[in-house]
């Protein structure tokens, strides 16, 4: 009987704290655990008793890399309770700040966190020694995303300007036009990023995923749409909890989501891409094809190419919005509180982010539920690990450990986001 253990106690180049453990017995994977040990932060409990207008500011603190996603999902949920729709230039500005977040988050992951894996570097600093031009390009591209967030959000981390109903203050046309040149450069740089990403060496690994994302009739989804999958899900956001459930596993402080009727699913760039290739602008479709991607990508290591294609989309979409922008009469729509339950679902850079709130007539939050993308992807990560290790048992422990870490980093996971909740089981004997 031969036994091997692959252990990484503190995963590097991921947001938050997680570890992985794989036990191999008699040349077969016996156990796989991806554990998040980030302390729970109780955001859902914290929201109870607060005003409905505070949800975007409070929930944005869940994540420093995708705060806009939290602001948008919570605002959408509150507006749906109160029967208000935000449309026109305000809706476009929401998409625009979200494009900024996609750019900065995707580019950070592509260049600083994920690329070193493929090129054999421990981190981006070591990679920068040999590839300074690549890293400098990534830094410049990321900054344009950050700058868009500063312009529309007031600051890049935890923006203060978005609110339920729209924004506190909207930019002038001139403010936005200043971004045309940088974004034109960014579009070219993102196309270069796709070429760079596609040149990396990828392990051979495919899996039959259930891809879950939003789908909108006219647009590549960011801020709204129906929740769909390539295996038959097609629901409105208010049916989310009828279709998906979260379970608590002993080894993780983060809940794991699954499709009720089936099992794990994948949210994020690969899911959006698979379900919405036809909604990408021509420039992004062409870049994807030239990079060797078909309309579906089932190799999770190639998510770096998909993220790059989505960066092309985000730059293109930002330019489109800026060119069409007309300053709205008012920076926000009035949202008078109304008792009820509302749901919000938008596409955070790393996947679907679902919010559900119950508020009373005075607009006080009675109940809150947040399902972030990393919770949704945890089961898929464990399944990837299991299958990847089983297929690569001939690798040395060192190489296998490196690639197992990479399997997790493929998801650009955000552990802090996923740990807002603690299920407490009390056993009484």
């Amino acid at each position: 009987m031969k036994s091997r253990t692959i252990k990484v106690d503190y995963l590097a180049r991921v947001e938050g704290e997680g570890r992985l453990y794989v036990r191999i017995k008699d040349n077969a994977v016996a156990e796989v655990r991806f554990s998040v040990f980030e302390p729970p932060r109780f955001f859902e409990a914290l929201l109870r008793g607060r005003k409905f207008t505070e949800a975007p500011d409070i929930t944005s603190r869940i994540c420093g890399i995708c705060p806009v996603a939290y602001q948008m999902s919570s605002s959408q949920a509150m507006e749906s309770v109160c029967g208000v729709t935000v449309s026109g230039p305000l809706r476009d500005l929401r998409r625009l700040i979200y494009c900024g977040e996609w750019i900065e988050s995707h580019v950070l992951h592509i260049y600083m966190l994920h690329a070193p894996d493929f090129l054999g570097y421990e981190d981006a600093i070591r990679m920068a020694k040999d590839h300074p031009d690549v890293v400098n390009q990534g830094l410049k591209l990321k900054k344009i995303g950050n700058d868009l967030m500063v312009l529309l959000g007031g600051r890049e981390i935890h923006p203060v300007n978005p609110r339920v109903g729209g924004f506190y203050k909207v930019p002038t046309k001139e403010d936005l036009l200043r971004f045309v040149k940088p974004l034109q450069w960014a579009l070219e740089a993102s196309l270069e990023t796709v070429r760079f990403a596609s040149s990396l060496p990828f392990p051979e690994f495919e899996r039959d995923y259930e891809f879950v994302s939003l789908r909108h009739p006219d647009e590549y989804p960011i801020t709204e749409g129906r929740v769909v999958s390539n295996k038959g899900i097609d629901i409105s956001t208010d049916q989310f909890l009828d279709t998906f459930e979260e379970i608590h596993v002993p080894h993780s402080t983060s809940l794991q989501a699954k499709v009720k009727e089936r099992d794990d699913y994948l949210a994020g760039p690969m899911a959006r891409y698979c379900n919405n290739f036809d909604r990408l602008p021509e420039v992004a479709q062409k870049a994807a094809k030239e990079a060797g991607l078909s309309v579906v990508c089932t190799n999770p290591f190639k998510s770096i190419i998909v993220r790059s294609v989505e960066t092309v989309f985000a730059c293109h979409e930002a330019l489109r919005i800026i060119k069409a922008y007309k300053v709205p009469d008012k920076p926000y729509v009035e949202v008078p509180p109304k008792a009820g339950v509302g749901h919000g679902c938008t596409e955070a850079p790393r996947g679907l982010l679902y919010h559900r709130y119950e508020i009373d007539d005075a607009g006080i939050i009675k109940d809150a539920r947040i399902i972030p993308p990393t919770s949704q992807n945890q089961k898929a990560m464990e399944k990837d690990l299991r299958q990847f290790v089983q297929k690569n048992l001939d690798l040395t422990d060192e190489k296998l450990t490196w690639q197992c870490e990479q399997v997790i980093r493929n998801y650009d996971p955000c552990m802090s986001c996923s740990c807002h909740f603690l299920k407490l089981d009390i056993q009484r004997d």
Partner: protein, 165 residues
């Protein structure tokens, strides 16, 4: 004298007690309204440091240290000539890179300013609140004096020398 471009960067969270000591130093220096000196705070993304010092000749960075040493212990690094120990400063957030990492990245990319002095002040209390521990603030006050002397000498050097301080 605006072209002398000295930047003072205070790092920290003012609502986490001693973690805000870097901001305290930066704000005290800002209140002196020294000519040619720009004060930057509110940096939440470590990469932003690259841009904070991009157009300045000399930069001072002040952050709270948390290495287990006694509160008020101070550290001084000439970052051009030495690396900063990785255990001294925690990350700006778990989402971003730390001060020492961004300095090492800048070193590799040849994006350090001409002068970069980093001060660390060991903190004691990191709980929610705005009060600074006495010994931590006293240590900060000494650093403020030292930075002011350094700035004065840099500016004199500019005025009397070739500008290559």
């Amino acid at each position: 004298m605006e072209e002398y471009a000295i930047t003072v960067v205070g790092i920290g969270n003012a609502y986490r007690s001693d973690d805000g000591i870097g901001l305290y130093v930066a704000r005290q220096i800002e209140s002196l309204a020294l000519s040619g000196v720009r004060v930057v705070e509110g940096i939440g993304d470590g990469f932003a440091l690259l841009y904070a010092w991009a157009d300045s000749d000399h930069t001072f960075v002040i952050d709270c240290a948390s290495s287990g040493a006694s509160p008020g212990t101070t550290y001084h690094f000439d970052a051009l000539g030495e690396s900063i120990p990785s255990n001294l400063f925690s990350g700006l957030s778990t989402h971003s890179i730390s001060v020492n990492q961004v300095i090492e990245l800048a070193r590799v990319l040849n994006r350090l300013p001409r002068g970069l002095i980093v001060y660390g002040i060991e903190g004691k209390n990191f709980s929610a609140g705005i009060d600074l521990t006495t010994e931590v603030r006293q240590a900060a006050d000494k650093i403020i004096e030292r930075i002011v002397v350094d700035i004065d000498s840099l500016i004199n050097h500019y005025v009397t020398g070739s500008g290559n301080a």
